[in-house]
């Protein structure tokens, strides 16, 4: 068969990239629309409360509702509300948090660094360690170390994050007294309450971040180990690896060039997609247990306090990151894997 022209390949590749970009946009729009519909069809607890208190104090509940709606901009036709909702989201006006008495975006901005403080180290550790152990397991399949790693992976997947966090807190906090039980935000902040670089990397702050990192890493490292083991196993017995061995290529080179390279493509995509999900869900519960004032705690408190705008804001962040992660996954696939077809049948 004749090879297609190079420019045709480029056109197809760009077409693929553009279609993925468009698709991410469509996905965002659909999710926002669904959210709007959900918000529209659920009774607003704040309105109900307002009406209730108006009726109690002898006012007219209907009028109180009207005023509240006008204040929040909930007036006009459904279409007008919908377009306003969308333009607000796009322009970064995510509403007012009643519980924090500040704009939702500001509350998010103060919370996210706290989540990153243990999320990023955990992401790096679980990636490096998980891939290494998985690769080792695949190369020594059915060895004692492989069984141990598999067992550990099953434990890691199965252990409930929040319960594990509690157990660790009991053991290292209460019994051994090595780490503080209560999370102290002060050690990472200056007198004005802003995060400082020295504070974040101070010993006291690092010490209280150890357990969250450990808990979060157990869950994500386990699934990464499983995946990288399965991926690497596909290439351990591949013909080109056998050929390389027969030619006398050193073990190191075989692992790095012939096994890790092809296996890393699906793994790289897994990293953004699945791992981010595990980290976000894990961080939600971990923060609540440890009392870290990050995104998870913010969302949790918003739910407890019926702060609808903040609840949506805190849920939008991981959702958008998931969409962007998926997009990055598709794009990286296009660049990393020369075998991908920029699909007529995609």
């Amino acid at each position: 068969m004749q090879q297609p022209q190079w420019w045709w390949c480029a056109v197809k590749k760009w077409g693929y990239l553009v279609s993925r970009l468009l698709w991410a946009g469509v996905a965002t729009w659909v999710i926002l629309t669904i959210t709007f519909v959900l918000m529209e069809f659920t009774p607003n607890a704040q309105y109900a409360q307002l009406q209730f208190s108006a009726a109690q104090s002898g006012g007219d509940p209907e009028q109180a509702l009207e005023t509240a709606k006008r204040l929040r901009g909930d007036t006009g036709t459904l279409w007008a509300q919908y377009t306003e909702f969308l333009s607000n989201i796009v322009s970064g006006n995510w509403g007012w948090s009643t519980y924090r008495s500040q704009p939702v975006t500001e509350a998010l901005a103060t919370a996210i660094p706290w989540s990153m403080m243990y999320g990023v180290p955990s992401l790096i550790i679980s990636t490096v360690l998980g891939m290494t152990i998985g690769l080792y397991s695949a190369l020594n399949q059915y060895s004692r170390e492989d069984y141990a790693a598999t067992l550990f992976a099953f434990m890691g997947i199965s252990i409930p994050n929040f319960w594990f966090a509690i157990i660790l807190l009991v053991f290292f906090g209460t019994v051994l007294n090595w780490v503080p039980i209560l999370f102290d935000t002060g050690v990472a902040q200056n007198a004005a309450g802003n995060l400082t670089l020295g504070g974040v990397f101070s010993l006291a702050n690092l010490r209280q971040l150890i357990l969250p990192v450990v808990v979060l890493t157990t869950g994500s490292i386990a699934s990464l180990m499983r995946y990288s083991r399965a991926e690497a196993l596909e290439y351990v017995e591949a013909d080109f690896v056998k050929t390389a061995r027969a030619k006398g290529v050193s073990d190191r080179m075989i692992v790095l060039k012939h096994i890790l390279r092809p296996a890393s493509i699906p793994l790289a995509t897994l990293l953004v997609g699945d791992l981010l999900g595990i980290i976000f869900v894990g961080s939600y519960l971990v923060e609540v247990v440890f009392g870290i004032p990050g995104l998870g705690t913010l969302s949790y408190n918003a739910i407890i306090n019926q702060d609808t705008a903040l609840v949506f804001g805190t849920i939008f962040v991981p959702t958008f990151i998931a969409i962007v992660g998926n997009l990055a996954q598709d794009l990286s696939y296009a660049y990393l894997d020369p075998r991908i077809s920029f699909g007529d049948d995609e």
Partner: protein
């Protein structure tokens, strides 16, 4: 292999005609003419008792469920016609004779168990040969066998226990009782139920797992938690199987724009982080256990629908399907007789790995206080002991052990099922 031993299941009577016919085919080869087709046709029209029982029970359950739903909601919706005998003023549950009020959750659970019995256990019992084969494959994984025993015990206790035990009551005077064989400083419990020796309160068999800060018995809570976890796992995955197979098969069969729309929707649903979706919907619609399970069922099927679709697309092109289509089998019969049975192995495997995540989600939501406040679940008990870690460790740790081992057991069983059920997966691994 003789023709006698290889008859199609259920078709052995009526195939043999008479003595004369037997003589003709003494070499065990039967030709088209040897078979008494009228007898077979008469036989195929007779409904086997088990099938009759299945349809009978299904009809009873579904009509009961519809009637109960009608009784509950009809008076609240203005436009529903209220039929003569059923005319009534107020909403609320119908009290059935003998069993009394049946909750929506119980209806769903009964339906789920009916499906498990008739679509999993009965075929396994009937087809001994395949069952033994699967069992031999499954048995290779000793941890999985152990896990299966653990799950069976949890299921049995969780089903029987709540029938005899009342939900744990708040008893402030019996707060912080330590579990049996354990002792705490006698300052911790309000009053020690057991013996106090040397200033330490010892646990008693009255509360084998101790009590919470409210004086609720933890063992009873744990037993109720078993029921809840099983219900979440089984009903949730039952709903997922229903929706996923319907969507997957529909997409595979219709192709074209229907396929496109369904699969693009699945893309979006999968993009949305499941846990946050559950969190959002539970926040908006309230976290009764029924709501939670329905949400799990309605939003958790994306991955499995993809599996069903791709498997069904492959199977459709296979020769036995083409052959049956050529002999005039309709779409529905092809789906029911060829596609569904062949897709089911992949679905069962995927679902057995979905169950632990559903249980974990329920526990996490209950832990966050978004669960059902009326029913004690593992996550809720773990949360209730979070403030008392320094003096009453058992409150959070004991239910967590059950949660951990149940999830672990489901993961082991799912892994072994994948090895046993999936013939393509020879010697390999995940």
């Amino acid at each position: 292999m003789s023709a006698d031993g290889d008859d199609a299941p259920g078709g052995d009577s009526g195939v043999r005609t008479d003595g004369a016919g037997e003589d003709v085919v003494s070499s065990n080869r039967r030709t088209f003419e040897d078979i008494d087709w009228t007898a077979i046709e008469a036989d195929s029209r007779r409904v086997p008792p088990l099938t009759a029982l299945w349809w009978g029970l299904l009809t009873v359950l579904v009509s009961g469920l519809l009637f109960d739903a009608y009784w509950r909601f009809a008076p609240e919706i203005p436009d529903v016609p209220v039929l003569g005998l059923l005319a009534r003023e107020t909403g609320g549950a119908f009290s059935f004779p003998v069993v009394g009020v049946i909750t929506p959750l119980t209806w769903l659970y009964a339906l789920t168990l009916l499906f498990v019995v008739f679509k999993a256990i009965v075929p396994l019992v009937r087809d001994r040969r395949m069952t033994m084969y699967y069992w031999r494959e499954f048995r290779k994984n000793r941890l999985a066998v152990l896990s299966l025993v653990w799950l069976a015990v949890i299921f049995a206790i969780g089903t029987v226990g709540p029938l005899f035990l009342n939900t744990p009551k708040v008893a402030p005077l019996e707060a912080y009782q330590p579990p049996v064989f354990m002792s705490v400083d006698s300052g911790v419990p309000v009053s020690c139920v057991g013996e106090t020796i040397n200033g330490r309160c010892h646990g008693t068999w009255e509360h084998p797992f101790g009590t919470t800060a409210q004086g609720k018995d933890i063992l009873v809570s744990v037993i109720y938690g078993m029921k809840i976890s099983m219900q979440v796992g089984l009903i949730g995955s039952f709903l997922v199987i229903l929706v996923a197979s319907a969507v997957g098969l529909l997409a595979a069969y219709s192709r074209g724009w229907m396929d496109e729309i369904l699969m693009r929707y699945v893309d979006i649903q999968i993009t949305f982080p499941t846990f946050f979706l559950y969190l959002l919907v539970t926040f908006m619609f309230g976290g009764s256990l029924f709501n939670m399970i329905v949400i799990f069922g309605l939003f958790g099927w994306g991955g499995i629908a993809r599996i069903v679709r791709s498997e069904a697309l492959q199977r459709r092109e296979e020769e036995y399907v083409l052959a049956s289509e050529n002999t005039g089998a309709g779409t529905w019969s092809v789906i029911r007789r060829h596609l569904l049975p062949n897709v089911s192995n992949s679905v069962i495997t995927a679902v057995s790995l979905l169950i632990p995540s559903l249980i974990l989600f329920e526990a996490a939501l209950a832990f966050l206080g978004l669960g059902d406040p009326t029913i004690p679940s593992w996550g809720e008990v773990i949360a209730s002991g979070r403030r008392d870690l320094d003096r009453a460790v058992w409150i959070s740790t004991l239910p967590g052990i059950f949660l951990f081992f149940t999830i672990l057991a489901f993961n082991f069983v799912g892994d072994a099922l994948r090895d046993a059920l999936d013939p393509r997966n020879v010697g390999g691994e995940s």
